[in-house]
């Protein structure tokens, strides 16, 4: 009986997710790459600023923000910053089609079962997390980001200052 109660408590605790707070270390478990095979992780970008963007091809607001993210990557992406997309709870074929349709060039990982999104404490898609070079959370945006948010909130934190 105790074992059953223990399992139930474990289930409830492990299902609960309070989300990440600014300043906390960000999860960096390896995930499959959306294209090209193999795995990747946030740890691959340690030493850079990373804007982790959770999205899905079925999410309409994600379509709206994709061009802004791509523009921002073209302006700021490089040795000190990258956008890192995480396609979550999505069909891999649909995700790849989305990347082609919106001509997204930044790296993409795949979180088919939603475990990574759960670890980050997301409440839906899209959500974005700006992670500093030490792997700690600096900004968290719930919902789609736009050019204004990226230039006013994210760009000033990056090396070089403003947009």
């Amino acid at each position: 009986m105790l074992a059953v109660v223990g399992l139930l408590v474990f289930g409830l605790v492990s299902k609960g997710s309070s989300g990440l707070a600014v300043g906390e270390p960000v999860p960096n478990q390896p995930l499959p790459r959306l294209e090209g095979g193999g795995t990747g992780s946030l740890a691959d970008y340690r030493g850079r600023w990373v804007l982790v963007n959770f999205w899905a091809s079925w999410c309409i607001p994600c379509r709206a923000e994709a061009p802004a993210l791509e523009d921002f990557q073209r302006q700021h992406g490089g040795s000190q910053f990258t956008v890192l997309g995480v396609d979550t709870r999505d069909l891999s074929g649909d995700g790849r089609a989305f990347v082609r349709e919106y001509e997204v060039g930044y790296p993409q990982l795949r979180d088919g079962d939603g475990d990574a999104a759960h670890e980050y404490g997301t409440t839906g898609v899209p959500e974005s997390f700006l992670v500093d070079p030490r792997g700690k959370l600096r900004l968290h945006a719930v919902g789609p980001v736009d050019e204004e948010y990226l230039s006013e909130q994210v760009a000033p934190l990056l090396p070089g200052g403003s947009s």
Partner: protein, 153 residues
């Protein structure tokens, strides 16, 4: 005679063959009852979200490719993980979902059986009203006999 038998056999084959083929073909309605909409957290059968619609389209595509029900569910697990299955797989840690209720039932049954056996061994009666085990005490027995004798015709 032979011609008639051949005709009957051909008719039977013609009737049975499509039925057998139909039984093998996977059905969206059946699969929807067995898999989840991962975003909605409900059975796909009950889900109407955009993600659920994509999942249905995906399943239909696999059905059109001639995949069996099991193959389709396996493909969904590759895409969404084990949680896409409404019933957990019967292997690994998920096996506990099937075993724990059975073990709990067996423990309860054994405990009940032991309890009943002990109760019966202990007399099975607390001597309260309506008690039949042991009968009346000596004094009561004498009084009962006297009462019965009075009514003896």
């Amino acid at each position: 005679m032979r011609a008639r038998l051949a005709l009957v056999a051909a008719l039977l084959l013609a009737l049975l063959a499509p039925a057998a083929g139909a039984a093998e073909r996977a059905s969206l309605i059946e699969i929807e009852k067995q898999v989840m909409c991962p975003v909605c957290g409900t059975l796909l059968q009950l889900a109407e979200s955009p993600q659920a619609q994509r999942e249905r389209v995906f399943i239909n595509r696999l059905i059109d490719e001639g995949k069996s029900e099991e193959e389709i569910k396996d493909t969904l697990v590759v895409e969404y993980g084990d949680e896409v299955l409404a019933l957990p797989p019967d292997s690994g840690f998920s096996l506990s979902a099937y075993l724990v209720p059975i073990v709990a039932f067996l423990i309860a049954a054994v405990a009940l059986m032991i309890g009943v056996l002990r109760w019966r061994r202990a007399g099975g009666d607390d001597g309260g009203p309506g008690s039949r085990v042991g009968g009346p005490s000596g004094e009561d027995s004498e009084r009962l006999d006297a009462d019965l004798a009075r009514y003896d015709l």
